[in-house]
């Protein structure tokens, strides 16, 4: 059993790799479900949580620390799923939300913009090449700035991940084989000791959620800033 996070740019094939991996290893596969749980905790909409985990914080966020509430809620929602000891998570910022959890296998998938544009065009027939490219660059820029401002690191820094796979030359099936092979290595095995530490981490996340959003739980935090 292992906990695997897959970080990738939008339309890079991350979901397909995650699903392949989950099928191969028999693990649950989660993405936006974690955001939905976090949204329920906060009494916010899923779109609001997605927005807060993707767009870089402004000056006002630093004053109100409102952004922190969303991060802590997402962390608590993800940590709760990790307590089972096996998980493939392909949602936002897994490598950072779980950075205090020992033995997590963090993977980054990269793909050239041209391939990602083709993936968008294949799914959305009413868009065009220029719009698709602009969309990808915009999302990439936002995520890059979000990670930089929230954690002070670069999203493409290879030292943040155990494995960075280039999907320009490696097929999805091969990427899946590679990660599955690594998940079998002893270092990433969730042992009884690791599980205890994960449970302690999850309990700590719950406590922080109560501290940060307790008085406002069930309300819509975004309403306070007029977003």
């Amino acid at each position: 059993m292992a906990i695997i996070t897959i970080s990738r740019g939008t339309m890079s094939g991350g979901r397909a790799v995650a699903q392949c991996l989950a099928d191969r290893l028999g693990y649950p596969c989660l993405g936006r479900e974690v955001l939905q749980t976090a949204a329920r905790m906060l009494g916010a909409s899923e779109e609001t949580v997605l927005h807060k985990l993707q767009t870089p914080p402004g000056l006002w966020d630093h004053v109100t620390r409102e952004r922190q509430a969303y991060v802590v809620a997402a962390q608590a929602a993800l940590a709760a799923h990790c307590t089972t000891g096996s998980l493939v998570y392909h949602g936002l910022a897994g490598q950072l939300l779980l950075r205090d959890v020992p033995g997590v296998l963090r993977v980054r998938l990269i793909a050239p913009v041209a391939i990602r544009v083709q993936a968008i065009l294949a799914q959305h027939s009413r868009t065009n090449h220029v719009a698709a490219e602009r969309f990808i660059q915009s999302v990439d820029r936002q995520r890059r700035r979000w990670v930089r401002r929230m954690y002070g690191v670069e999203i493409n820094d290879t030292s943040l991940y155990e494995l960075t796979i280039n999907l320009e030359s490696i097929t999805l099936a091969t990427a899946c084989v590679m990660i599955a092979e690594l998940a079998r290595q002893p270092h990433y095995e969730v042992t009884a000791d690791t599980r205890q530490r994960i449970q302690a981490f999850a309990a700590d996340c719950d406590r922080r959620v109560t501290e940060v959003i307790g008085p406002r739980a069930g309300q819509h935090p975004a309403s306070g800033e007029g977003a």
Binding site: G103, I110, T158, Y161, T174
Partner: protein
């Protein structure tokens, strides 16, 4: 059967990784041997050649032409090994010298800086500070070299097929996933891939012949080969004797394995 290139910073575990792969796969492992072979082919000392690879060029590089000779020489020596189809290469610049070839897995190993410093200090019996200074210097030089020669950043993950972080991963685990990757269909050396590797070798031989011949030494020429037919492109001076084109064709045609030479040159007036 496949080719693996291993790019890594000094004391990042690259040699152990390459040897582990060679053991598991039964492939030959080459590193410095490529520089030695290239130095022999070019008739220069290995120290001179290493210096051209280790020292980053300056912005106004007076030795640009000489450096190109060395790079072409090393690529040609590597191409001779690559054409056999089985190889683990852990020498310099594999990720750019072997770019675009089929059945090649370009790996990069990264290791925590503190770990590399500790390894070097223990291995060479030097102080932590000296080890730290040395590693920073070598890293900076290699980064500048790749930037100046190819316009790429050595840490850009897009230059590699896979980047492996040894912070939490053992050499054995890194080796195991690489072997599992090489067993996948895209890394099989098919007849088509073998043909492409042989074309690469022939093109490299022609480029080496052109950069070492006195008449064509300074010319920015490229060569592409397909089934023995070599196309030479680039710019060449238009001389009144009209000999340049003939010499390029003659030098290229004399290379072992070349059946036909096609010139696709742009001419310029050397005395405008």
């Amino acid at each position: 059967m496949a080719i693996v290139s291993v790019c890594r910073g000094t004391k990042s575990g690259g040699q152990a990784f390459a040897e582990c792969l060679a053991d598991r796969l039964g492939y030959p492992v080459v590193g410095r041997e490529i520089l030695q072979a290239a130095a022999f082919d070019l008739g220069v000392s290995e120290a001179d050649l290493t210096q051209q690879f280790e020292r980053a060029p300056r912005r106004w590089d007076r030795q640009a032409a000489a450096r190109r000779v060395y790079v072409v020489g090393v690529q040609a020596a590597l191409a001779e090994h690559v054409a056999t189809g089985n190889l683990v290469y852990h020498g310099l610049a594999g990720q750019v010298l072997l770019r675009g070839l089929p059945a090649v897995l370009r790996t990069r190993l990264v290791a925590p800086f503190a770990e590399r410093v500790r390894t070097l200090a223990e291995h060479d019996d030097i102080t932590q500070e000296a080890a730290e200074r040395y590693i920073r210097e070598v890293d900076a030089t290699r980064t500048r070299w790749v930037k100046m020669m190819y316009g790429e950043h050595i840490d850009d993950p897009a230059l590699y097929d896979v980047v492996i972080n040894l912070a939490t991963m053992s050499i054995e685990a890194a080796c195991a996933i690489t072997v599992a990757t090489l067993e996948q269909p895209e890394f099989t050396v098919t007849d088509e891939a073998r043909g492409a590797l042989e074309d690469f070798r022939l093109a490299c031989r022609v480029k080496r012949a052109l950069v070492t011949a006195p008449d064509t030494r300074g010319l920015p020429l490229e060569a592409v080969a397909h089934a023995g037919v070599v196309e030479v492109s680039g710019t060449a001076p238009l001389l009144s004797t009209g000999e340049t084109g003939d010499r390029i064709a003659e030098i290229s045609g004399a290379v072992l394995g070349v059946k036909q030479v096609r010139l696709k040159l742009q001419w310029f007036d050397p005395y405008p």
